[in-house]
């Protein structure tokens, strides 16, 4: 709790001017070596300005630098911006860029590149809420960018970190071609990050080499990074175990994690705030607009009481995951654990179902429900629902989808009653949390919009206020009320935070385990 408060107060610092502190000391860090990094997917391309997601984010963070970074927790740190200032009314954010920083091709980084990058992200990135309030970016001189906002926008700082705002060179991407299909997204990529691109071979590898002119003196420590694309989880674990790979992020298979925790020479970790900015929450979502029983809040509450969150975390996830009670990640300063928990209580569930007007029939069954799931990794959770809800007289039919697009079409098209889902916070709640609960975001055909058709005017109001509240304590209070209200209405039954782990060999120093984990620059990572 104390840690949370500290984190919350550090967010408070956004209203103040930051000065560059002493660069984090890396005791024992060594120069040189080649890091072999096992990654799970082939990126579409390497430019995070126009492509969200982990596959592009992992190499993207090495190639492109953002204005800010968040290393171990929720405190913003200088990166390409050596300091920044948020005006008292919250409507102006000034970035002071590091002097002497250059792109990989030697061209100096100017404030106009920052303005260009913000515009490119605003126009092309799928997370429209990140830069929607940005009216304009002024560039009084080459090292100062002044962001003008139409309303206070506290989510901006997180949206300027990790891969969410890569500073891309205007002299490369500003040539009039569509940035989404620009050739420089996959070949001859020019960024300003700690590493430069040597070769990108789809489904094989991304090879990166040290940027000797990186704007932080002495960094990065590694000479080279070879990102090997190994899609098969078992093969990836073997590579980590036999020393063919040093590092892997976003590992979430409970069996693999537990095996690697016991294996010699490697560490699997997800302690503290690791992956908290990614914020992956698994939940059981209800179609609240359903004509059937789940349209009734009492039925949803009954189902929540009948599902055992502890069992899912301990038995299905084998103790690797963290229970999540709300849509905000438990590692976030805005997480409110004091909400209606719906701890297992079959009597209460039965009583609520009776009250809702669904008495048991002669065979003990009240009604039938369909539960969906979209990918193999969550099948056990779907199957668990069937025997569990049978205990309270609900006959569950499990509907599997052969692949992701099939499921996305069904759920996006509101053709479901109950489904397992995983949704990511992506930094600030404004980016990844609001979308699930906002009435204005009930958009048929769009996956991870408000597919629950959930609508509560007070909840909408709370999100609107929290989205533009610059005082962290007040903001936290707004989100706290928001989480309590949502828990009462149960549009989704929040179950657990995905057990994302970073697995690394003993030889790796400063492994990436912060809030952005492996979607952060690896300039501090070294080989012992």
């Amino acid at each position: 709790m104390i840690k949370k408060l500290v984190a919350a107060s550090s967010v408070a610092a956004l209203a103040l001017t930051f000065q560059v502190g002493a660069v984090l000391a890396d005791d024992g860090a060594k120069r040189g070596g080649t890091l072999i990094w096992a990654v799970q997917n082939t990126p579409r391309h390497l430019n995070p300005a126009v492509q969200s997601g982990i596959a592009t984010g992992e190499p993207g963070n090495q190639l492109f630098a953002a204005p800010l970074r968040y290393d171990e927790d929720w405190t913003p740190q200088p990166y390409l911006a050596e300091s920044w200032d948020v005006s008292d009314d919250g409507l102006t954010v000034t970035l002071n860029l590091v002097k002497g920083a250059t792109f990989h091709d030697g061209v100096p980084i100017k404030s106009s590149d920052v303005a260009f990058s913000i515009q490119t992200v605003k126009d092309n990135h799928p997370f429209k809420t990140m830069y929607a309030p940005v009216d304009s970016v002024e560039t009084p001189d080459d090292h100062t960018a002044v962001i003008k906002l139409s309303k206070p926008h506290p989510a901006l700082l997180l949206a300027m970190s990790s891969q969410l705002l890569p500073i891309i060179p205007e002299h490369v991407y500003g040539d009039g071609q569509d940035p989404k299909t620009h050739p420089a997204n996959s070949e001859n990529v020019v960024g300003s990050g700690p590493f430069k691109l040597v070769e990108f071979k789809r489904d094989q590898h991304v090879i990166l080499e040290r940027n000797d002119d990186f704007f932080i003196d002495g960094r990065p420590y590694l000479d080279k990074i070879v990102m090997r694309i190994i899609k098969d989880g078992s093969a990836r674990m073997i590579a980590l175990e036999n020393g063919e790979a040093h590092l892997s992020g976003f590992e979430q298979n409970p069996r693999d994690i537990n095996r690697m925790k016991k294996a010699d020479g490697v560490t699997a970790t997800s302690d503290g705030v690791a992956y908290a900015a990614i914020g992956p929450i698994a939940w059981l979502a209800f179609n609240t607009a359903s004509e059937g029983p789940v349209g009734d809040t009492k039925v949803r509450q009954a189902i929540a009481y009948a599902i055992d969150r502890d069992f899912v975390n301990k038995a299905i996830m084998l103790g690797t995951s963290t229970p999540a009670l709300t849509g905000i990640h438990p590692g976030s300063p805005f997480y409110e654990p004091d909400v209606e928990r719906y701890d297992l209580d079959l009597d209460k569930a039965n009583a609520l179902l009776d009250e809702a007007g669904y008495p048991r029939g002669d065979d003990g069954t009240r009604f039938q429900l369909t539960v969906d799931y979209g990918w193999a990794g969550i099948k056990a959770q779907a199957e668990y629902v069937k025997p569990q809800l049978k205990k309270v007289g609900i006959d569950v039919v499990i509907r599997s989808s052969p692949d992701f697009p099939t499921w996305a079409k069904r759920v996006g098209g509101h053709d479901f009653e109950l489904t397992w889902d995983v949704v990511f916070n992506w930094g600030d709640p404004v980016i990844g949390v609001h979308r699930t609960y906002q009435t204005s975001n009930i958009k048929k055909g769009v996956i991870w919009s408000n597919t629950q058709s959930y609508s509560n005017s007070r909840v909408d109001e709370l999100m609107d206020m929290a989205g533009s509240e610059t005082d962290p304590a007040k903001r936290k209070a707004l989100y706290s009320e928001f989480q309590k209200l949502v828990a009462k209405d149960v549009p989704v039954y929040h179950t657990y935070a995905l057990p994302y782990h970073t697995i690394y060999a003993d030889a790796v120093g400063n492994p990436p385990v912060g809030i952005w984990a492996t979607v952060s620059p690896l300039d501090r990572v070294y080989l012992k």
Binding site: R44, P126, D203, A235
Partner: protein
């Protein structure tokens, strides 16, 4: 002349078949729920309505189905397979990148399975009740019934983890980028062995069983008795007279199995992260990347057809009856 006419007819069938493959697959992919906009949205962690509408418009998915099919067919006959939705790269160059890896894997596996299968079959046919014969039967049963991805992972655990002789995944060691060519060739061979062995395991079983059965049949034939009576050595009888005649069914089966080898490659490539068409195919299907899937199916159909034509030719070479019969 007869041979040429037959070949021409076969080529005609092959082209018709290819076009049918394209149309059928185009229809099938469109029946599958979800499209590239759903995939890209999923890949990006969510998207707005506008972004998804934009993606659909960009890729022409907002046009009626029949118009899309017409446009695509028009392009295919001009050998234009379009751009991959997912990678924004011409499909032909994506396939050209992958085809060599798949061909290498498929042909190595096929060759390995044939050579080892035939040798095992011949040896066990000579002593139908010997230890080796039983072992081959057992191996065949095992190879045929074990799922190929399981065999792959077991080989990985045995020969990459417990006894680290072979690399886990991929086709090349990226650290050897600047090494001399011969070193890089060796490296590819080193990476190839486990996946080729895995893929060969199913077919090896099949070929050895078939070769054994067909050898046993031939060895009981009259002309073998004649050869024995003539005083030929056992070696000459088995390898010169019997083997040639018992190879027919094996080669026929090998040809028929060619498509199975190609589809088996999809699984093996996934387990070993082999950067071939199989890996690309799986990813494109999951991503609803229509132009890439159709391109891959087109080229795999082509590979299978060519494989079958080759089988015909080989059969003609080893069996004069087919040559003269013109069947």
């Amino acid at each position: 002349m007869n041979f040429l006419r037959q070949t021409a007819v076969r080529l005609g069938y092959a082209i018709a078949l290819l076009l049918a493959v394209v149309v059928l697959n185009f229809v099938l992919i469109h029946i599958a729920p979800g499209d590239i906009a759903d995939t890209i949205a999923g890949d990006m962690g969510g998207a707005t309505e506008e972004v998804m509408a934009k993606i659909r418009a960009d890729y022409g998915l907002d046009k009626p189905f029949i118009v899309q099919l017409g446009l695509y067919m028009g392009n295919v006959v001009r050998f234009d397979f379009g751009y991959s939705f997912f990678f924004n790269t011409p499909v032909t160059s994506l396939i050209a990148e992958r085809l060599p890896a798949t061909l290498l894997l498929v042909f190595s596996a096929q060759l390995l399975a044939l050579v080892v299968g035939v040798v095992l079959g011949v040896i066990s046919a000579q002593r139908p009740n010997g230890m080796l014969s039983h072992f081959v039967t057992l191996l065949a049963l095992f190879g045929y019934s074990a799922p190929v991805f399981w065999t792959g992972i077991m080989l990985l655990i045995g020969l990459s983890l417990m006894l680290p002789l072979f690399p886990v995944a991929g086709m090349v060691d990226a650290r050897l980028m600047d090494a001399p060519m011969w070193r890089q060739y060796l490296d590819v061979l080193h990476h190839l062995l486990l996946p080729a062995l895995t893929l060969a395991s199913i077919f090896l079983a099949l070929y050895s069983r078939l070769c054994r059965a067909s050898m046993l049949e031939v060895l009981g034939a009259d002309y073998i008795r004649t050869a024995r009576a003539k005083g030929l050595t056992e070696r000459e009888i088995v390898y010169k007279h019997a083997l040639k005649n018992s190879l027919g069914p094996v080669v026929t089966l090998a040809g028929l199995q060619f498509s199975a080898v190609v589809s088996g490659a999809v699984l093996v490539e996934t387990v070993f992260s082999w950067p071939g068409l199989g890996t690309l195919a799986l990813q494109s299907i999951l991503a609803r990347d229509t132009p890439t899937i159709l391109g891959i199916l087109f080229f795999s159909a082509l590979v299978v057809i060519v494989g079958n034509l080759l089988t015909d030719l080989v059969l003609r070479l080893i069996d004069p009856r087919i040559r003269s019969g013109g069947g």
